[in-house]
Amino acid sequence: MVKTDMLPQKAEILDITQETTNLNIKTFKVKFKDDDFQQKFNYKPGQFMMVTVYGLGEAPFGFASSPTNKDYFEFSVKEVGSVTKELHNKKIGDTIGIRGPFGNGFPVETTDGKNIIFIGGGIGLAPLRSLINYVLDDKNRDNYKRVQLLNAFRSPEDTLYCNDYNRWESTKNTNVRYTIDEPCEGWSKCVGYPHTLIEDKLEWDLPNTRFFTCGPPIMIKFVTNRLKDLGIKPSEIITTLEMKMSCGVGKCGRCNIGHYYVCKDGPVFTMKQLGEMPDEY
C-alpha cells in the first residue's frame, strides 16, 4: 500500500519540443530535482502523473516516454485549459511539481509473444508512445512478434513525435504507417480515417494480435467497431480514458464511471471492460 500526502515533488524542465506546427502541443522532458528520487522512480507505460503548476493547479498527463530510460521522463501537453496554458508558457530550467505514477498501465506482461498493432490519433499517440518506445527498445523487442503502427493526424501540420519516426521505422519486423484526414499536396502516405484503412491498405496480421488504440472518442469507436466486425475479441482491444481528476488515488471522487475509478482502476481498459461499465464517460 502506498501512503500519500498529496504533495508534489519538484522537477526541472530539461527540454521542450514544439510538436505540431500549429503550436498547440508541446512535449516536456523533465527530471526530479532530487537525483536519488529520479533514479528510483519507476512507472509502467500507460500510467499517468499529476503535474502541478505551482500556485495555479494540477492536471493529469500520461507518460509519453518509456520507463527504460532512467534519466528523465516525458509528457505531452495540448493547450486546452488554464494549467495547460501555463505549462505552455514554461521555459527550460523552470520548476514544476510531479505526483505519481498513478493508474494501472498497459498490460505489458501478458502481451509477450503477440503481434501488436498501435492505432493512435493526434495527442492520443502520447500514452501509446510510452509503450511503443518500451516495446521497440532493444532490450524488449524480441519479446514481441510483428509490431505495426498506424499514426493518424488531422493534417500534416498536426504530426507528433517526428523525431521518433526514423527509429521506429528502422526497428526490425516493425511497420509504421501514417494517415491524415483529407488529401493534401505533398503528402504521399495514407489518407483517410483509420477504420477505413484497416482491411485493404495495411496488410495487418490479425490473429494473435493485441490492439492498442488511443485518440478522439469518435476514432476509438469506429476503429473498435471495425475490428469487432473482423472478428477481433473486445478483450484484445485496449484503450486509455481521460477524465477530470484531482487526487489520482481514487478518493476525490470525480473520475468514476460507475464504481470504477479511472485514476485507480484505469486509465487503461479493454473494450470488453468498457462494455460492462455504465455509459457515463
Binding site: 464511471i257 460507475g258 455504465p278
Partner: protein
C-alpha cells in the same frame, strides 16, 4: 469493560482535567444569523455541550476539515505534528459509522492511504453517545445501524436524565476514568433494555439489494423525476457525514505556494467538467444518480457496507425538500417492476 456512573458536576471535573492534555471537540450551539445550529467545535466549557439533540453537522469537520492545509513539498513539515490528541465527545452511532466509512476510503483502501487523514485519525479518540430517540428524518435502523450503541467507539456515553453512564470498552482508555465511581451493571442493563423497548422505529421501510445493480439502475427514469427540482446547491453533500469529495487549491504564487484540500461536491456541474468542455455528468439527473449510487452501489462494491448512515441530515437541510428515502423507494419500485416484467 469498565462501567462508571457520574453526575454532571463529576463529568465537568473530569472534562476540565482532560482538556489540559487533550483538545476536546463536542456539539455546541452556534448562532448563525437567525439560525441556531448545533455543530461540533473545539471547546473548553463543559456546560456548553448539547446532549439531547442530534447535531446539525457531523464531526466530519474535525477529522476532515473543510479546508485542510497540506503544505508545499512532499516531505514538508505537518502543521499538526505537535498538537495534542483530540477527543471528540458525543458522537452518535450514525456518525461513528460515517467515520468508519471515511476510514475505509482514506486509510483502509488496499492501494492508497491518505497520510494526512490518517495522521488526523491516529490523533483522535472517539467517545460515542447513545441516542435516546430517533429524529423524524432518521432511518438508521433501516440501514442496520443501532442508534443505542455501536462498536465504532472505544468509549461510550449513555445519558440518563442528569446522570452519565460511561462504558469504557478498551483497556488503554480505562486510566482516564479510573477514579470515577463505578456503575451498577444490572441497573445499566435495565436502562438499555428499557431504552430499546421504547425506542421509536422510523416510519420508513426498504427492501433493495445492496450493492444496487449499477447497469440496471442506470436505465431507470427516476433520476430525471427526482432531480427536477434540485438546485445543485450541494447542501446535502456538505451536511452529509459520509460525503468526502474534495479538490485541491493553491495559495500564494509560484514555487512557494501552498496546497490545500477543500471539500467539493459531486452535485456541482463544474465538478466533472473536462478542460475541453466535455462533461460526463452534464445534467442534474446524472449527478443526483451518482450521489445515491455512490452510497448504495459503488461504496458497497469497492469497500464494505453502505455509504449512507441514515442520519437524515440531507432530508432536513435540502432547500427544495428532496428526500433520499423517496429516491430509494422509487428505486425499490423500479427493481420490483423490472423483476416482474
Amino acid at each position: 469493560m469498565m462501567l462508571k456512573k457520574i453526575n454532571s458536576s463529576q463529568f465537568e471535573k473530569i472534562f476540565n482535567k482532560l482538556k489540559k492534555e487533550y483538545n476536546i471537540a463536542a456539539p455546541i450551539l452556534h448562532q448563525k444569523g437567525k439560525k441556531e445550529l448545533v455543530e461540533y467545535s473545539f471547546i473548553d466549557d463543559f456546560k456548553k455541550i448539547i446532549w439531547d439533540k442530534q447535531p446539525d453537522t457531523s464531526p466530519k469537520n474535525i477529522i476532515f476539515p473543510q479546508n485542510t492545509f497540506l503544505g508545499n513539498d512532499y516531505n514538508g513539515n505537518k502543521e499538526y505534528d505537535n498538537n495534542k490528541k483530540t477527543i471528540i465527545l458525543g458522537v452518535r452511532s450514525c456518525d461513528l459509522r460515517a467515520i468508519k466509512t471515511l476510514d475505509q476510503v482514506f486509510i483502509e483502501d488496499e492501494m492508497y492511504t491518505d497520510q494526512n487523514y490518517k495522521d488526523m485519525r491516529d490523533n483522535t479518540i472517539l467517545v460515542g453517545l447513545s441516542c435516546e430517540k430517533r429524529e423524524e428524518t432518521s432511518f438508521c435502523d433501516v440501514l442496520g445501524i443501532d442508534a443505542i450503541e455501536s462498536d465504532n467507539a472505544p468509549i461510550y456515553i449513555f445519558k440518563e436524565k442528569d446522570s452519565f453512564w460511561i462504558k469504557v470498552k478498551e483497556k488503554e482508555y480505562e486510566q482516564l476514568f479510573i477514579e470515577l465511581p463505578d456503575g451498577n451493571k444490572d441497573e445499566f442493563e435495565k436502562l438499555i433494555n428499557k431504552r430499546r423497548e421504547n425506542f421509536n422505529e422510523s416510519s420508513f421501510d426498504l427492501d433493495i439489494p445492496v450493492p444496487l445493480p449499477e447497469k440496471e439502475i442506470f436505465k431507470s427514469e427516476i433520476w430525471k423525476e427526482m432531480s427536477e427540482k434540485c438546485l445543485s446547491c450541494g447542501v446535502c453533500t456538505y451536511y452529509c457525514p459520509t460525503c468526502y469529495c474534495f479538490n485541491f487549491f493553491w495559495e500564494g504564487e509560484g514555487e512557494e505556494s501552498t496546497k490545500y484540500k477543500n471539500w467539493d461536491s459531486c452535485m456541482f456541474s463544474s465538478y466533472t467538467v473536462h478542460a475541453s468542455g466535455h462533461n460526463p455528468r452534464d445534467s442534474k439527473d446524472k449527478r443526483y444518480r451518482n450521489r445515491i449510487m455512490h452510497k448504495f452501489s459503488y461504496h458497497p462494491l469497492n469497500y464494505e457496507g453502505l455509504g449512507c448512515v441514515g442520519c437524515g441530515r440531507c432530508i432536513d437541510r435540502c432547500p427544495v425538500n428532496l428526500d433520499i428515502r423517496e429516491a430509494l423507494k422509487l428505486t425499490e419500485q423500479f427493481l420490483v417492476e423490472k423483476g416482474g416484467a
